[in-house]
Symmetry: C2
Subunit: 853 residues, 2 copies
């Protein structure tokens, strides 16, 4: 049981059988629970052993100095880092004075599971203590979607064979000891014991603590209450000290007898509110939750998820791994955002401390497209958070001598926290990404009030930014020079196509929105002269093109640069950023992640189909995918260009990023963008969803191997269900009035309750584009049914389940594809991303299937 | 006397009358003595008060960590910082138990002077102690050119009016308390008390100490000995402790009686040698110096300088300030290099800790051209130092995945110490600059053995670097992408014209040298295929040109960028790097320092005269001169283009950089490159010296106001003297055989001892190019005779002397031109360069002239 964990392939759940002591961090991320407000890593109830303990409250962070060997004007001096707050997950168990610890004694069985329809983490353990006492523990845990400040726990212990004296200690622990930080030692110093105790109190089954963070001065209240059921000998006590609170229950269990506990945990935090106010807030939430009861919370959880899945479920026949993965992805994307409510959606959600807990452009570019169609309220809230940071973004723009607002490249609280400007400040596209998310949200939800109160101001301020960032050259072209596009293996280049196209769209969206809300626009100082100058700039936007090669250079001059020497780059030298200097990467044709390809995905109208096919093939040969943000984009454009099998490969890579721990850093938290990317690859890729204008468009087409794809969208007041099979696509308006849509360019009117089925045209026959040697889509991820070592004979998605081997380095991968880095920065605070890069042997590959019980 | 210092204008000396307590640092740099091996700042003998105490030994440095907010592959982790070593300058004086300290009592007179023909700092003081005792102190100080490990001091105190009990304490002090460091606090922490005592001993009039640096483990031995003369009551004692040694003489002086002391100070240091070996080395040097005696050392000093001036003197009639300045410059350039002997020539010489004591490309590009023609042995030694660092440069190239050798952007010991790669590692031109210095040295000295043993290997390894750094594009052009040229307001650009032209020259020079030394080339692995590929690359070198504007873009695409908004940039916003982010600077047309203009100066053959005139005018309008490395280049190209008055203005700015403390950071050390630049502006500018090929060429032409310019050059075994007046240029071979030269394109044969006089053609009449508003050459530096507030009625250069006001903020400048930054990096270790930039009121301007006594 120990050192061996299998993750089973099931359509609606993630289930771990056994436990891998050396890879606990990964399971803690996979089994993390969150509602976007509170996040609890899937640490074992008893706290030890752990990969990385983690309890996170959205936006609760500490400050740390950002050092520079050579300083420069405008460099941020203070960074923000998510902190592990007061841990209320811990439930220690003593059996006849021996602590329950799976590292000792004998573990007979260990299973953990989340059913995505339930939203509850369950755990079943049978353990023999070193002294020979057998017990059975069943626990459940939830972070409530319905009561955002609440997490709750159900814990049941049963003695087997012999009577046992059992003690349960339910804890609240601040300033937990964490594993040594792997990055900047100064950051670690600043972050040790970040919480200062302000109050602690124990009373009966209740404990309250209040702390405040040392530098950021955020006050955090945590409170817990309990209900116990057990034999009459049950005794209960409680105690507290500055950094800990404890409720203890002790009882002698006869064989078959059980001790049951329900634990409610409430948090409250604020930069402003007083200690009594915050304490009262947490205690009030606790009282309400206790009244709801464990059963009530579980019921509410299910109701919330039922509603979500009815809107959002994606069905995939023919690839059970992808079926599981896309539901896993949707579940976690929902968890990251559901109740974030005007706080950021970090790159890792609230599943781990990776990237310091920062939010990047990924939120708007990858996560919000999914939420906009499946949980639009959460998407709106995320954009309201950006809106709330506008004053800081205006300050940043002013510091940079620019007009409007410049949103940060990475942040928790709104201030720029990037310590390397060529891949931070210079990546101005984040502003157009945010504006695009606003325009998309308004277009899809038709939420006019949002546009008027929130969206317009973001569009206006970002349009102002672009107008001041670009300039007309002597030929009248509007140029945006010296910026960094999405591809982090290039930087500080002129006229990045993605940036220029997105800026163009930003300028037009702002002008259009100002026209729709002239009074509000006037309040923002926007008149017809201003919007005309935005439209002029958009009209004159320079999009470089290389007529010799017949492709678009990613940025001006890119195609004249030397092509990276892929032939002499060994597998161990990926990710390149850990083995080559930025200097070398920036000046050559090598692409970390979709950039021009993303431009074609997001701004498809700017390219002809021929251009798309040529560009796609050109950039395939240069793209090494050293980022988790790439595979889904490549899937979408591969599908559009007709490379369906390749698209399927990329879909699988995006979808299995965390389930297979492809980058070996799932332990730091899940890759929200890549998870969202599995939806994007399916819906925008094989569904062919494009929705920039008035009419939503689909160009569905399935690859060999996928027999059916069905997905639901909330769009313009309707609920639309799309079902695609090999030959036919069926559109159903299940809620709302009739709507018009495009199917492969053909206008279709769909009446409510009257599904329309249309033929799917065959894909063109094209040569499969080539990737750099060794950087093909991961071969060990090859879909089932194509032979090879992956999941031979995996069951269908309808109830059967196959298992995929986990473990650390247990099975050598076929491709030996090493770890792949994500955002910018080696080391620094993001620590071990990709590690030393020499991880070829540590890639988990598929094992034979088993049937679960 | 206090708070008021005048620097007098004399042809052969720098003389300070009075002393400015608030600007002591400046005088300490101006009066610094050095032989390139040892450097002593012009601190007052008694140690206090001081701006910044400084005793430097070439290459003695400490290590400090280089921190990064976000780390990256290949970033240097350790920096090197020059340290203030054991101070042997201190001679404290007690008068009737009161310490002689100019801040107390009454200072009747205070004068310091260096005669550039003597190389001795003299000081004369008359002081009344707070108790009313008047004394007269006369001191002299030298750092020996002839005995490189030796400094020596003569000290004489005389009682006036009343008898006085006088105590002299001659000290040796390690780990002196320094003013708070103004940069990175971590650097300061690492550098506090860098010396660990290993030995100390006092014996009679002798004291020895040995220390070792904490991290860099460089052992430093210092030893002093003394000779006293005075009345019979003279008593002498000595003592030592770990960080201090002291010899004390005490005596009662009757009025008119004097106590005289000679102090000899010797240093030895090594990374390798043992303690006894180093101690013996220092003591041996001491014994030899004592035997030479004070008079002997003074004599040797004069002989050394007589020989130098006979070769190197530059005479300027019509501008006495420039006459003084160019001799001041030559004296300090000589001091920085004379006995450096295979160690680096730092950007500040050994006059202060600015730029951490690092050497940059300035050494090869600005200082070595001067030394090559005036002190060729020192130039050769400086290149031998580079040669000695080749193993480190090869390692660096390998780390960067490049062939050959990549010399560091900034270093003391040879390792790259730049903490900001876009303005460090990416500035690869440093390699071509070094290669060019090698080629120049060989061409001028015809030192074949040097070429074979030293030069060839540098040329070969740098050529290999360029060949691997560039690539042929599909059109067959050889491109060098993503590098940074000299202008630090641009970075990471493609095909920087300066870099490409210098790389071209590097490749050809290497191929030519390999042909001259085929056997040695073969040992280095260079065969005909290799040299052919170098010549191919040079032949195909891409030099971008903008046909629409008819100018060369500094780098590809540069002329399409937005022009900096000079109109709305206020005087307080210069230097721009302190008020705008690099992001903003890099993407716009704004030039910190000559870049394309430097390309035209160094590689003139690549441009037609028309192109030069157009390019010069274009870049004049964009160049803000926020660097001390620019004015001299602009002077040279202004002169070549025929803008003689403008050239004169730039000459003055280069020449007076430190004498007038234009950048307000002379206190950190003198700007060696700008000092060398005053020679370059005169000799390459008004002398029109160009010497790339077989025949040396001159195109002399004087601006209005300069009536005569004469200079000497050591070239190809001759000593050539060039004398230019308004209408005529005269060439004299004063040593060596006949030689051929070009005069304004005309071939001339000059026989030894037979001066040839030729007409100077008139300059074309051209419109004076415009500079960005407020960035014209400094108006308060306008030459004498042109009216305005500067030096009305200043005397001629022939013996008369005018004074220029010093003081802090005493006289508001006309232009209000604020401080100007030098190398890259705000803050960091270089601290207060330019300070807050709001220094308009603090610029010293000229005052009325006085006649010196």
């Amino acid at each position: 049981m120990i050192d061996k964990a299998s993750y089973l392939i099931e359509p609606w759940a993630i289930r771990e059988s056994g436990v891998d002591l050396y890879d606990l961090g990964r399971s803690e991320s996979l089994f993390a629970l969150s509602n976007g407000h509170i996040g609890l890593r899937g640490n074992l109830d008893e706290g030890d052993p752990h990969g990385l303990p983690g309890s996170y409250l959205n936006s609760v962070h500490e400050l740390r100095p950002l050092p520079y060997a050579e300083a420069g004007y405008g460099y941020p001096e203070s960074g923000q880092t998510v902190i592990n707050v007061t841990d209320g997950k811990i439930i220690r168990l003593l059996v006849d004075d021996e602590p329950f610890d799976i590292r000792y004694g004998e573990l007979l069985s260990h299973q953990r599971m989340i059913d995505f329809r339930e939203g509850v983490l369950t755990r079943d353990v049978e353990w023999v203590s070193p002294a020979g006492q057998t017990i059975r523990v069943h626990s459940e845990r939830l972070v409530s979607f319905s009561q955002r400040s609440i997490a709750a726990f159900y814990y049941e212990v049963e003695a087997i064979g012999d009577p046992a004296r059992v003690v349960i200690q339910s804890e609240l622990v601040a300033n937990e000891q964490l594993p040594t930080w792997r990055g900047d030692p100064r950051a670690a110093a600043a972050l040790e014991s970040p919480l200062i105790s302000e109050r602690h109190r124990a009373d009966g089954t209740k404990v309250e603590t209040v702390h405040i963070t040392r530098h950021s001065e955020i006050r955090v209240a945590a409170a817990m209450d309990h209900h116990f059921e057990g034999p009459d000998s049950l005794g209960i006590s409680s105690e507290s000290e500055p950094d800990a609170g404890r409720v203890t229950a002790t009882v002698v269990l006869l064989p078959g007898q059980k001790l049951r506990m329900v634990k409610w945990l409430a948090y409250g935090w604020s930069e402003q509110r007083s200690l009594p106010a915050l304490r009262d807030q947490a205690v009030a939430a606790l009282v309400a939750a206790r009244q709801t009861g464990w059963g009530g919370l579980v019921r509410e959880q299910k109701e919330y998820l039922d509603a979500f899945w009815a809107r959002a479920d994606v069905e995939v026949d023919g690839d059970p791994e992808v079926q599981q993965a896309v539901r896993f992805a949707l579940f976690h994307v929902l968890q990251s955002a559901a109740r974030a409510e005007r706080r950021a959606i970090p790159a890792k959600g609230l599943t781990g401390p990776g990237y310091d807990g920062h939010a990047f452009w990924d939120s708007e570019t990858y996560v919000l497209p999914v939420l906009t169609y499946t949980a639009p309220a959460a998407a709106g809230d995320a954009l309201r958070w950006r809106h709330a940071t506008l004053p800081l973004a205006r300050e940043r723009a002013e510091l940079l001598d620019l007009a409007g607002a410049a949103f940060p490249w990475r942040t928790i609280h709104g201030e720029e926290c990037s310590g390397y400007w060529p891949a931070g400040t210079a990546a101005f596209h984040v502003n157009a990404d945010i504006a695009d998310a606003v325009a998309r949200y308004v277009n899809v939800t038709e939420d006019e009030r949002f546009e008027r109160e929130v969206g317009l101001e973001i569009l206006v301020e970002t349009a102002r930014l672009w107008r001041s960032l670009g300039h007309h050259d002597l030929d009248g072209r509007f140029r945006i020079d010296g910026v960094t596009g999405p591809d982090e293996y290039s930087a500080i280049a002129d006229n990045n196509v993605y940036t220029n196209l997105m800026a163009q769209r930003n300028l037009i969206a702002a002008a259009d929105a100002a026209r729709r809300h002239p009074d509000r626009a006037a309040e923002l100082g926007v008149d017809a002269e201003v919007t005309a100058s935005w439209r002029d700039a958009a009209e004159d936007m320079f999009i470089p093109y290389d007529p010799h090669l017949g492709v678009h250079p990613q940025s001006e001059g890119f195609t004249e640069h030397q092509v990276w020497d892929f032939e002499h780059t060994t597998a161990e030298q990926y990710p390149l950023l850990l083995h080559f200097p930025y200097f070398d990467l920036y000046r050559k044709q090598v692409v970390k992640q979709a950039d021009l390809v993303l431009a074609m995905q997001r701004c498809g109208d700017a390219f002809t189909m021929d251009e798309k096919i040529r560009n796609f093939a050109y950039y395939e040969a240069l793209t090494v995918r050293d980022s988790s943000l790439s595979a889904c984009c490549q899937a979408v454009m591969a599908a559009e260009c007709g490379h369906l099998s390749l698209a399927h490969d990329y879909l699988r890579e995006a979808a299995l990023m965390d389930l297979r721990d492809i980058e070996h850093n799932t332990g730091d938290g899940l890759h929200m963008a890549s998870l969202a990317g599995s939806w994007i690859a399916l819906v925008e890729g094989f569904g062919g969803l494009r929705d920039g204008g008035e009419v939503i468009a689909f160009s569905p087409r399935l690859p060999e191997g996928l027999t059916r794809l069905a997905f639901g969208l909330c769009v313009r007041g309707r609920h639309l269900r799309v079902e695609v099979s090999d030959a036919t696509a069926t559109y159903t308006v299940s809620e709302g009035p009739a709507m018009t849509l495009l199917h492969h360019g053909q206008t279709v009117r769909v009446q409510p309750g009257e599904p329309v089925s249309l033929d799917v045209p065959p894909a063109p026959v094209l040569e499969r584009p080539r990737q750099p040697a060794g950087r093909e889509p991961l071969r060990f991820l090859r879909p089932p049914g194509e032979g090879g070592p992956s999941n031979p004979g995996a069951g269908s998605s309808a109830g059967g389940a196959a298992s995929v081997g986990g473990g650390h380095g247990g099975h050598s991968g076929v491709g030996g594809h090493p770890g792949v880095g994500g955002h910018s920065g080696v080391g620094g605070h993001t620590g071990g991303r990709g590690g030393s890069g020499s991880t070829a042997g540590a890639v988990p590959s598929a094992t034979g299937s088993t049937v679960d019980g």
